[in-house]
């Protein structure tokens, strides 16, 4: 019979999940890491990672994800590809149900389901997704060779990917709702020094229009003045929303639209349930934080497994 109960289940295979997997495998914990698709999470959306310690020359998001996975596998990481759609965390063992109706259970659970790009929610956005509207510059930049694209956002992702887009696009217009960027200084400096990037400040886009694909966007500034701009594509990089649809949000005391609060040891409101990575309620969402939290979560899980009477 197929094994369905584990001491520890790790849900998600981004940097937090893979680091938790590495620590769990090395601790010889009876574990299972459940991944939805290939490992890597949002790192796979990142063109270039320049701030992960130990890689002084930087490396692609792709490569970092592969290295993290290989590292955990070297110690015997157990994985299952499945999409968990619901769970019962009100009792121990904790029970998880997959899309295919498969039931799994565990004594301790680490939630590393991460986050996904936030939508703007404006007319034309959904209609033109894949035909000019994109949430992944790394994936789609090569389609915009010698074209003019807009980037919406002012954080690290938006500004870094605006620079990446200039390798293909002839012109990149960054539209930000404030008068200053939030991105890390070195990322800003590179963008300001790039003569293919221009900026529209204190403005947001209100609609995306075109025939077969995106042809123009409507922009409104903070004084209410409206203009339109002809572009071939729009990259929407305005932040993330939590992948929390499968979680019991009330029991976990979720906040800010589904992020999970924890203590310093990544313990959630439910005993034996930890949360690590972008799903955690926190200010800073860096790869290195996610990895660190994944390690913390396994140590907290071990402590729980050794000290609770299950």
């Amino acid at each position: 019979m197929k094994k369905t109960h584990f001491e520890l289940i790790i849900l998600g295979s981004g940097p937090a999940g893979l680091t938790a997997g590495l620590y769990a495998a090395r601790a010889r914990l009876d574990h299972l890491l459940i991944e939805k698709g290939a490992a890597g999470g949002q790192v796979l959306l990142t063109d270039w990672v320049d701030n992960y310690p130990g890689f002084p020359d930087g490396l692609s998001g792709f490569e970092l994800a592969e290295k993290m996975e290989a590292h955990a596998r070297r110690f015997g990481l157990n994985t299952l590809t499945a999409n968990v759609v619901s769970m019962d965390l009100s009792q121990t063992p904790k029970r998880l149900t997959t899309e295919d109706g498969e039931q799994l259970s565990c004594n301790a659970l680490i939630i590393c389901t991460g986050a996904r790009p936030q939508l703007l929610g404006i007319p034309g956005e959904v209609e033109f997704t894949g035909r000019g509207v994109s949430y992944c510059a790394t994936c789609d930049a090569p389609f915009y060779r010698n074209m003019h694209v807009a980037v919406v956002g002012g954080g690290n992702t938006a500004v870094q990917e605006a620079s990446h887009l200039t390798k293909f696009a002839s012109r990149v217009t960054l539209i930000h709702r404030r008068d200053a960027l939030r991105a890390t200084k070195i990322v800003q400096e590179r963008a300001f020094a790039n003569d293919k990037i221009d900026f529209i400040w204190n403005s947001h886009i209100t609609a995306i229009e075109g025939e077969k694909g995106v042809e123009r966007i409507h922009i409104k500034d903070n004084s209410g003045k409206e203009t339109s701009l002809a572009v071939d594509g729009v990259f929407i990089l305005i932040g993330v929303i939590p992948n929390s649809e499968m979680l019991p949000l009330q029991l976990l005391k979720a906040e800010h639209g589904g992020f999970i609060p924890t203590d310093n040891e990544t313990r959630t409101a439910i005993a034996g349930v930890m949360a690590a990575g972008d799903i955690r309620s926190k200010e800073v969402r860096q790869i290195v934080n996610a990895a660190g939290e994944g390690a913390t979560a396994v140590l907290a899980a071990e402590h729980y497994l050794n000290n609770s009477t299950l």
Binding site: G40, L44, F62, E99, R131, C139, F143
Partner: protein
């Protein structure tokens, strides 16, 4: 994705392949695309599960620019479902298995 479980097609044989009587789902992907990689295992599962009922195919958009251009594809992964050579529906992004099963069911 770059696997042998899913048949790769190209600009040259695209038209004849998708005109077959069995519906086809074409995964437009590229090696530099993370989300394309992420949905790879799901595409392989589907190829196995729908064997004989729906042909699951993949096209590398880097090597084959003409076909994605013809369909106005400007983001990947894009998955287009064809029946008798006509588009039934399409979806973009690293969507879940259920969404792909729902998409495929439109041609069955």
């Amino acid at each position: 994705m770059a696997s042998d479980k899913v048949q790769a097609i190209n600009d040259a044989n695209f038209k004849t392949t998708i005109s077959a009587s069995v519906p086809c789902l074409v995964d437009f992907w590229a090696p530099w695309c993370g989300p394309c990689k992420a949905i790879g295992p799901v595409i392989e599962d589907l190829a196995e599960e729908y064997k004989g009922k729906v042909t699951i195919l993949k096209m590398n958009v880097d090597d084959n620019p003409a076909t994605p251009g013809q369909f106005g594809i400007r983001a990947i992964p894009t998955l287009i479902l064809f029946k008798n050579g006509e588009i039934v529906d399409q979806i973009t992004g690293a969507v879940g298995k259920k969404q792909l099963v729902d998409l495929i069911s439109k041609a069955l």
